[in-house]
Symmetry: D2
């Protein structure tokens, strides 16, 4: 348990305790949508569509209420959150009128955003950056009298680190800072985060719950329900090909072949784990700025049935990635916060439902959902 | 247990026992594909792709081997099975060369096909037809010294019976004959079969296992995996629309609005059961003879995510219905035969995995698969 | 030429002459979008995307400038145009901010909308209704000192009239009123309009240009370019199936089987005219309110190539019907107004580019475009 | 005119004259399908579906009859044509029974196939290879007493040649040989062929007709009809993305990034030429062996309409490339042979209808078809 509270701060951990959510990438589309959406749902402006933790199976599990969440984060960009929310409104991600309705909450979160790093020309070494980031976390927790702070990485996908890299990738610096500050950690991106030998020992010793990697929001979500169908029906998948078109920041980031490779590794893992082999076919991620924050994913699955008959399934998914990710990010922050409160530590494979590349556990969505419900029961029974 | 064996027939029920599979609609595409395919897999010409009962979870469950199945059936058509198999080869359903490779088995099954009914101008009443059909079943069992005969309805979809109909629909006449002859029964079509008050008592008293209704081969199979995904992710399905294009006999039969209504009831049940409400949208079934036995199903799902964002999933399924249905029909015949041997009676909701409109049980495919695996365990433990 | 001007009105027909556009269905989505869009383009708020008459081939053809158009119309609904524009903004048809930016123009058009008919319980006969409607047209022209008024039907699709109907369908009453008032007429809907024997003689005698029928905005537009491709490449179209999903007023209107039949007749004409035969396949129009004013059209084309090879083309069109129709409606009003000024009379088959069911001329879009360009040349040369 | 005939050969150029078609890539799928298909159509086994030159507009144009065509060619592979035809039958490209029905014609063509080059380890220089290839052409013409021989490149796509390459690419060696032997030339592939400065002068001096480049069979065919639609309707194409999945030899060849680059250049040219700008979006070509000779092409077009409304068109093309290409190749051989007979020389831009990257002329399919029909008229009037 954290112990940085003191007599001058409000009571921490009691029924009025508040929980911090610290976004790495706090000025990005996902974080902005999460902050605005949390405020909108709390205010009753919108139903909590897309938030699994607001469905009946999670009643009585002791999750921190949405109204108790306090937002902050790191980012290297400078656009204020209220302005970002306006941009997202123009892009059709946020409904008209929402940005002004929750302006105060966006403003409050904006005040809690600190400059991340390393910045271009930054002379700080890894250790110094970790120390600085951890200090930001501790300060946020103390100033806001928070019971705990969950760090959630929602920044742009990093390129795969070179095998001989001397420095830690930024996502790992932030993850290390979370460990040092005693914060549970969630990696919603395909970036490295805690998945580096350099952090294995610290993660094990930290006694903190953590979850990852790479949120499952669109094409891979579909793959996680369709691949088991073929297996269960004893149909032979010959080839599974996919193309993703997306604009927005993610499209540009993933136009980098290194970042795309990181992203695709997760996508392919679902198929390999479920089918027991890697079928033919490639996955493309194209940057199409004209699509803005909306993503189109086309999948083409060639499979073989009885007596060698050749059949085809195609799927076309048109979704808004930020709107898909934001409620899941809120879910994860709440679940991991509650896990921390309940004294759980280490990876949480029960949260595989949310990830393309989970720490462990089944690969089919349905089994993952069953595991998540069991986790809810476990939380309900925890003190 | 049946007791029509006698000293002059081979030992029944022992390790060399043979099992009868009696198709209502024995000259149709599904039955022909099942007979030809069973022979082909038995002969090692093809792997058992699409047969769930040939996967590892069914090892040791005591299912009758494919080589022990003996085929017969009713039909009102007259085209010999070897010729039907040639037609199916030209239509791309059966691979070239198969019809001649399994000619003997097709010929043998053809010898066991009896004329069904009622034929146009038939003066027999319901009772007389049931008696005649049951006699065909008993004769088939006795002549072939079969341990048991499973009756499987794979005939064309009937129109929904009028509420004030005086006669039973044909599918119910065959189902009644199965009960009378002591045969387990499977209804792979949306037709009435046992689902009529007139047969409720007889079904309950018969002590026979039965399963239905309406095989889940394409669009509804997909719906049974996709609908749970939306529920699990707390996404709100607004509209689910579908169009099916198919030629072949099924296309023509379903061009009849009554038959289409029967078919669509099953399709819609999956959504209503899973989503908890019936979304907007219609289902069309078009007869497109140019497509032959190949079916194309387009689904368009409009759903709502976080903060009211509007998203779309579309699926296009291009499959061969006969090739999808035949291995499931073989699965069902074996499972229900084994259930009969194990002394099970009444509806088998554990087989909901196979049906659009099952007797009971969960509506999501994954839960249905779990139930099927549990059923396999139960069979394994039965004597 | 009209001659209802008088000394007290401004000079008519000169360089400052204004042209009236009278919408039947003036409070509908298409009319509202046209009025708002004309104002927005005139004000430089948006480029004239989708308006063919604003492209270089139409330079110097003497079309009335957008700024010279004056809008009015008939409707039986009462929702004020500014309010309708807000609804269309919420529905994503109009961009945010536009309704308020062009509020004055919407208000002005709203003032010129008169109650149409026949209303429920209306005791007026056909002749009386025609007289009343014509009086509205003449009054609009005189009060606004308009050089001419083009009547454009953009109201909801009527059911096909019964063969023994005693009364004229409403669309024909409005068309007759246009003739009587000396107004050129455009029928952008599949409704009857001038296409009834009852109006043939009056249309011929009126000396007025007219054009129709049924604007080609989505699925049929595609068909008009794809069908010629198959013909030109000597590929054999076996089946052409289509499903349209749409909400909004049009979806509800077309859920009426009679209205759908009227609509589909036009769609099928394109294929029959181009292919020389009617392929297999049906067209469905489903009302899906969740889609609002956005339409999705799926087409599935089964065709045969060399040596009987079977191939498939599928298209999915996701468009906003009002946004597609409105610029075409403005095009047509301008072109027909200019034709009137140039003294042209009778049907204008050169405008087949715009219609599913044109008066005459080629059925392929490219040939229709060539004819339209020739028409532009003709207008350029006219006085 | 060629003048290598002599008194001992049959009369050349008269009504019984025969025309040679020499395939570069004579053992490939396209050439095999063309040879088998020409024989099948000649024998009345199949209608000439897909052959534009067999439609009424080409009556009386003096094209060499299909029955007069004599096939030969170069290839570096060794599989005999009758065996290749069997493979194509198994792959579903040729109908069952055809290969045996036209065995004699396949055998005859096989006898006229000569080894191409350069082979691995080949020590011949460019000049020697050209000389050898030309000798093969002259020998073929003389031995078969052919009026003329059209050389048609249907071999696998070459990688784009390096800018500093010392040798000519193979496609250019064959093209040079055609010039030297006095043979008209068609390049149905994206390879260099005559499009190299090294051959410009020879091509101009040769007095031979030639046509190219890169046959337009699927995705680009569609683009050539869809892109003009957007232009004609003044709709703004923002992004045009495409993915092609194909197995067979072409899939493997195009998995080479250099070859794919060559292929994509043609695809993009259609859009740039028609739209007047290059929209956002990429084109992918994936090798998916499970699809065999069947190709699936998905296109996603994001376009903007009136008042900035965002709309989407998607197309899915599932075709058999060999079956699409073969009739066009026969068309081209006949048209270019007739052009040669009529004394035409140089590039034939009127054949742009057939090519992705034509020598000149319009880029829309409809205008190209009009040009082709005018060319037919010209041939009809030629002696």
């Amino acid at each position: 348990m954290n112990n940085d509270g003191n007599a001058s701060t409000p009571h921490i951990g009691g029924p009025t305790a508040r929980t911090g959510v610290w976004f790495v990438g706090a000025r990005g589309s996902v974080a902005t949508t999460a902050v605005a959406g949390c405020a909108a749902v709390t205010a009753g402006l919108h139903p909590p569509t897309g938030m699994v933790t607001e469905t009946p199976p999670f009643d009585g599990t002791g999750l921190p209420p949405l109204s108790s969440l306090v937002f902050g984060g790191h980012d290297t960009a400078h656009c204020p959150l209220p302005k970002r929310a306006e941009h997202l409104t123009d892009a059709g991600v946020l409904p008209h009128g929402l940005a002004s309705a929750v302006h105060a909450e966006l403003q409050a979160a904006d005040q809690e955003i600190r400059t991340g790093g390393p910045l271009p020309g930054d002379t700080r070494g890894d250790e110094e950056l970790i120390t600085d980031f951890a200090a930001d976390l501790v300060s946020f927790r103390r100033r806001n009298a928070l019971a705990r702070v969950v760090v959630v990485n929602v920044s742009s996908t990093e390129p795969l680190p070179a095998p001989d890299a001397v420095r830690l990738p930024p996502s790992s610096l932030y993850a290390a800072a979370a460990l040092r500050a005693g914060c549970p950690y969630v990696n919603f991106t395909p970036s490295t985060g805690l998945r580096t030998p350099a952090l294995t020992q610290a993660a094990a010793a930290g006694g903190l719950p953590h979850a990852g990697r790479d949120g499952k929001t669109g094409q891979t979500l579909l793959r996680a329900v369709l691949a088991p169908m073929f297996v269960q029906r004893a149909l032979e998948v010959r080839a599974w090909s996919g193309t993703n078109l997306l604009g927005g920041g993610d499209g540009a980031a993933l136009a980098d072949p290194g970042a795309a490779a990181a992203k695709n590794a997760g996508k392919e893992r679902v198929l390999a784990d479920t089918l027991g082999h890697t079928p033919e076919g490639e996955v493309h991620i194209d940057d199409v700025p004209a699509l803005g924050d909306w993503k189109t994913a086309w999948d083409h699955i060639a499979f073989e049935g009885f007596l060698g008959s050749r059949m085809i399934l195609q799927t076309i998914w048109q979704g808004c990635d930020s709107a898909l990710a934001a409620p899941l990010v809120l879910d994860l922050a709440r679940l991991v916060a509650r896990a921390h409160e309940a004294g759980l530590a280490g990876p949480l494979p029960e949260l595989g439902f949310y990830f393309k590349d989970p720490d462990a556990g089944p690969s089919g969505l349905s089994e993952q959902f069953t595991a998540l419900l069991a986790f809810a029961d476990r939380l309900r029974e925890a003190k």
